[in-house]
Amino acid sequence: MSNLDDLYREIILDHYRSPRNRGELATPPACRAEGFNPLCGDEITVFIQVENDVLVDIKISGHGCSISQSSASLMSAAVKGKTLDQVHQAIATFKQLMTVHEANIDDPEPVAVDIRALGELAALQGVVKFPVRIKCAILAWNTLDQGLQDFVS
């Protein structure tokens, strides 16, 4: 079961069982963005509150599999209280972590990413060995990205 252990790390199961920053924020002042995974029916709503270029609060609601839910929870913990620059940086780094090079599809290795900078998020790197699940892991991040774009405009 070594493969499964790669995917379902203890940190992931912990965030799935006890999701952080679960709930909603009043809009306005907060912004909301919705993400869907039409293939599996996962739905996620990300609420963000930005003050002076700082993401002062984030809440997440919706439903999905352990990978999408834990990724959302880990994301919320990683970006809360960070400047927007840092948040954008985190999104870019995470997407890079989830990138599979087609040449390595049989034995995908994450591209060079500073794992230390990711903290607990590094627990999700095992997902790249399960290409079908990458879209689960990335759903919350794309939704946050969308929310930030909506906020700017």
Binding site: M1, N3, L4, L7, Y8, L13, Y16, R17, L39, C40, G41, D42, E43, H63, G64, C65, S66, I67, Q69, F130, R133, C136
Partner: protein, 411 residues
């Protein structure tokens, strides 16, 4: 007829000799696609090796053989479905979805006008919903849905009200999510009393029990090769010949014409007018072989065998998991097929399927292209287990072992 022997059937499926993750493949996804017996694969490769030519018109030997294989497939499929005039009643398409689009757009445009009612059910696959919505958007028909009861049966309490003035009832023979088998004879009789035609989606049922269009007294029926031990890339529309004769062509191109000039075209007559372009020749040869094999096995025998497997699985899942694994579908064993949609306590269907894969167990998570039904039961997805004639009770043992593991991991 020799008694039904699932071990023999299993031995004829090359894929089931495979291992994944160092374990034998336990295939429990026949509702998505059935596995292919060697003799079906051989029928298709023989066409490519010996008789590969295009069909119709050409007079050389291999072209005549190709035409004989293609038209022979049509007759075999017709015989399998109980068609009395297979040459005039069986249309080959790309898949069941294309067959629904053909019927909705060809029959629908010719026979329906603004305000006409088509009745579907809440347990339909999207293939029997979306083409009708497209037609609604195009010509303004009205679509009504028969609902599903809390115990996963078709709700017939409003049947007469919905069918009043309806032109068509288009309904599945068996739900691909619930496993529920619908009472086709009763539905047909009641729909006909309102003057409505009946189109049946037999995609899910055709390989798992007897299908007889005359006995069902339906007007049209659709099924798909790859769910019937046949190949992908071929679907089937059967309709009474007078209905097909009055329908205009669907796709235009080569093969479907009687004449073309710079001024326009005249469509071919018969089923040919619906088969534009080079048809699925190898697939027709393969599907013909598949339905001959199914007939040899005996559809009653398959239905009885799969009912035994399903009843056993329902009983053991209840016993093993005492409510932690819930079946979204009828559990009384009556009028249901070998499709078991599972709701595993605290474990998302995707995670269930991921854990099961490590045991070599192939099941399908998701909404199964039946979102109205999922919404009816407030579910985003289920973990669906489905049997075929090559499934064994020992498959259920591994299923249960792997479900225990999933519950343990996420519990």
């Amino acid at each position: 007829m020799t008694p039904f022997d699932p071990v023999q059937v299993r031995s004829e499926i090359p894929l089931l000799a495979r291992t994944v993750h160092d374990r034998p493949v336990i295939y429990l996804d026949s509702a998505a696609t059935s596995l292919t017996p060697q003799r079906v694969i051989t029928a298709m490769s023989t066409y490519y090796q010996r008789s590969h030519a295009n069909v119709h018109r050409a007079v050389y030997v291999t072209a005549e053989e190709a035409t004989a294989l293609y038209e022979g497939g049509r007759r075999d499929v017709g015989l399998f479905l109980g068609s009395t005039h297979p040459d005039e009643e069986i249309v080959f398409t790309k898949n069941a979805t294309e067959a629904f689009n053909l019927f909705a757009k060809s029959w629908g445009r010719a026979n329906l006008e603004r305000g006409d009612v088509v009745v579907l059910s809440q347990m339909e696959h999207h293939a029997n919903i979306v083409p009708w919505f497209q037609l609604r958007d195009e010509i303004g028909i009205e679509i009504k849905f028969l609902e599903v009861t809390d115990d996963f049966r078709l709700d017939l309490s409003r049947f007469d009200e919905l069918l009043e003035g309806a032109k068509l009832l288009s309904i599945t023979g068996m739900s691909n999510v619930l496993g529920t088998i619908n009472p086709l004879r009763e539905l047909t009789q009641r729909a006909h009393a309102f003057g409505a035609l009946v189109l049946v989606d037999a995609s899910q049922s055709a390989a798992h029990g007897p299908t007889d269009v005359v006995d069902f007294d339906v007007d049209a029926l659709i099924c798909t090769g790859h769910k019937m031990l046949g190949p992908t890339g071929i679907g089937v529309l059967w309709a009474r010949r007078e209905i097909l004769a009055a329908m205009p062509p669907f796709l235009g191109g080569g093969g479907m014409i009687a004449d073309v000039s710079v001024d326009g075209f005249t469509p071919a007559s018969g089923v040919t007018k619906f088969e534009a372009g080079t048809p699925p020749i190898a697939e027709a040869a393969g599907l013909g072989e598949a339905v001959r094999y199914l007939r040899e096995l005996g559809m009653e025998a398959i239905a009885t065998y799969e009912k035994g497997l399903t009843d056993d699985a329902i009983a053991r899942l209840a016993h093993e998991f005492s409510g932690r694994v819930r079946i979204i579908g009828p559990t009384d064993g009556v009028a249901r097929g070998g499709v078991l949609s599972l709701d595993v306590e605290g474990v998302h269907p995707h995670d269930v399927a991921q854990v099961l894969d490590q045991f070599g167990v192939c099941i399908r998570p998701g909404h199964h292209c039946a979102k109205p039904l999922m919404k009816r039961f407030s579910l985003a997805a289920t973990a669906r287990v489905s049997f075929g004639p090559y499934s064994l009770q020992s498959d259920t043992n591994i299923l249960i072992e792997s479900l225990h593991h999933a519950l343990e991991l996420f519990g």
